[in-house]
């Protein structure tokens, strides 16, 4: 893997910026170069929010990317806006709990997952963002499961009671991602 870019998008408050941060932390831990560039605009809670994470072995050139290799979406407007921009052969992960439409990208791997329900089973519906992250980590070989879990534990260190549910949500997503990768092969 020379370099990759992931765009994570949803409504503000859904935690996609945090998912991106965890991915960036995990990749950095593995000794890679990373950039985490959020959309920042005159937006508020409930508005759209997205972040682009670039991961590379050498210095990241442009952190501003219009055509990412992977897209994780938590809402319909983001899917409509960004799905056409994913690079051919890339990955699209759609939160089926919140996005009723399909991604019209036969040239990409598209994974639909009811992230909210999966997260609820894991212990908290609020960890849907970690289910999404899990799917990506499971599908790609950018970072490994253990490192990412360590980053989740670190992130929630001051709120330790939330760690088990969040890690469980991530793991469930991870399994789905691994399964999807197996199916593709």
């Amino acid at each position: 893997m020379a370099e990759t870019e992931v765009l994570m998008a949803g409504f503000g408050g859904q935690g996609m910026l945090l998912s991106g941060k965890l991915l960036a932390y995990a990749a950095m831990k593995k000794g890679m170069e990373v950039s985490w560039l959020p959309s920042y605009g005159p937006e508020m809670r409930g508005g759209t929010a997205n972040v682009t994470v670039c991961i590379a072995e050498k210095a990241v050139a442009s952190p501003y990317i219009t055509f990412p290799r992977a897209l994780l979406v938590m809402n319909q407007p983001s899917l409509e806006k960004f799905a056409p921009k994913v690079k051919p052969g890339g990955l699209i992960v759609v939160n089926r709990s919140l996005v009723p439409i399909d991604a019209d990208r036969p040239d990409c791997t598209v994974i639909y997952i009811p992230a909210n329900e999966v997260a609820k089973e894991a212990g908290t519906a609020r960890a849907a963002n970690l289910v999404m992250l899990g799917v990506y980590v499971g599908w790609s070989d950018v970072v490994d499961e253990e490192t990412t879990i360590k980053m989740i534990e670190k992130q929630f260190a001051s709120k330790a009671k939330f760690i088990p549910a969040n890690v469980a949500a991530f793991k469930k997503g991870y399994e789905e991602g691994v399964k999807a990768r197996g199916d593709a092969k």
Binding site: A24, K58, A61, K87
Partner: protein, 401 residues
């Protein structure tokens, strides 16, 4: 020290502390508010002072007073706020006080918008405020460089007793990247030298003042400032040359974040066989005219890319002295030019200039998004494939000696 993942604005705040700056005066404005937010928490913990002024005008006078008594001081703001500070900055330059000002630029004119821009280049390098004076201006292109340049800014400000500015766009302030800080947790305090107002008991009194009613005295003051600037111009030019060590047809000039967008475009087109170099001034004032001129000379054409309507291009033109046509591509208002748009623009400029890629086999095309347009050369390849993306990035950071 281990690398940490940090937002540009917070890293700037931490860099100031590492440089030994424990005093901050400012006023919040997007997209730099995380700097005051970070320092509001940290400085009181460290025994420093954080003051949220009633306005930027007041903040600029607070840093004026603070530096006047020999205390290392920082202010940060964004475009409209910097304009409000202009008056104070002119006074500070007149009194030759070492302050560091960070401008995380947003779009303008007027209130403009809160999204990234490079629209204050001319303000920072040419026309900050009234009177004859120059700011030293540094332009980082990454969070790490923002940290290094804030620390360097304090060094230069104190070495020359000259206000020094760091200009970054909103992206640098908002994005997170891994950074490494110097080991020292807090730098040593500022040396008050023979100029700071430290209480004149037992010594001759000192005066910090910018008013000279005697014209000849004021003339001498201007001459002194200009001589100092000549010294700075000779000693402090810094720039980066990217892929300029081999022959190139097109030279791209860009500063700050935009240079990285251009690097992605250059890397992509290099894989197709095009020969493109990049010149990036790291000190935009003093601008490395000679270095730029040398690189321009070796190119067939120059493309200047900025996040504004064309500001640094004036300096590139001065450097080129009419020797080459200089093309411009820019976006403003908070719109960031994407690598693909830069690629399209490069193709357009090359076509217009009649520049074709040299005839040799290249590694497979690396697409960035939209399908790359087929290029004219259909000659069969003779040489084996050029090294693809695995080749080392040929970047050189230089400093005038």
């Amino acid at each position: 020290m281990a690398r940490v993942l940090m937002k540009g604005n917070e890293a700037i705040g931490e860099a100031a502390i590492r440089a030994g700056c424990l005093h901050f005066f400012g006023y919040p404005i997007t997209p730099q508010s995380e700097v005051p937010e970070y320092l509001a928490k940290r400085l009181p913990e460290l025994g420093g002072q954080y003051v949220q002024a009633e306005s930027e005008v007041a903040a600029s006078n607070m840093i004026y007073g603070s530096a006047g008594v020999g205390i290392r001081v920082l202010t940060t703001s964004s475009s409209p706020g910097i304009s409000l500070m202009a008056e104070g900055i002119s006074y500070i330059a007149a009194c030759e006080l070492p302050v560091v000002i960070v401008n995380i630029m947003r779009s303008g004119p007027g209130l403009g918008g809160i999204l990234p821009a490079q629209s204050d280049y001319l303000q920072a390098t040419k026309g900050m405020a009234h009177g004859d004076f120059h700011l030293i201006v540094l332009a980082p292109s990454s969070v790490q460089e923002a940290v290094d340049m804030v620390i360097l800014a304090f060094e230069l400000a104190e070495k020359y007793r000259n206000p020094t500015m760091v200009i970054g766009d909103g992206m640098i302030g908002q994005m997170m990247e891994p950074v490494e800080f110097p080991d020292q947790e807090i730098g040593p305090p500022l040396d008050p030298g023979d100029w700071a107002l430290t209480g004149c008991k037992g010594r001759e009194k000192r005066i910090v003042n910018s008013l000279y009613l005697d014209p000849e005295e004021c003339n001498q003051q201007n001459i002194r400032l200009e001589k100092k600037w000549e010294k700075i111009t000779k000693a402090e030019q810094r720039w980066e040359e990217y892929k300029c060590d081999k022959p190139y047809d097109l030279l791209i000039c860009a500063f700050g974040m935009v240079s990285r967008i251009c690097k992605t475009a250059i890397d992509s087109l290099s894989e197709e066989g095009y020969r493109i170099g990049l010149f990036r001034p790291m000190t935009v004032n003093p601008f490395p005219y000679d270095a730029c001129a040398k690189l321009v000379k070796k190119s067939k054409r120059v493309l200047d890319v900025e996040m504004n309507m064309g500001q640094m291009i004036q300096d590139v033109r001065l450097a080129a002295e009419g020797s080459k046509p200089i093309e411009f591509f820019g976006k403003a208002g908070g719109v960031v030019p994407s690598p693909d748009e830069v690629i399209d623009e490069i193709r357009k400029v090359m076509k217009k200039a009649g520049i074709k890629k040299p005839k040799k086999k290249t590694s497979p095309k690396k697409k960035i998004g939209t399908a790359a347009k087929k290029k004219t050369s259909k000659k069969t390849a003779k040489k084996s494939a050029a090294k693809s993306s695995g080749s080392p990035k040929r970047s050189k950071i230089r400093r005038k000696r």
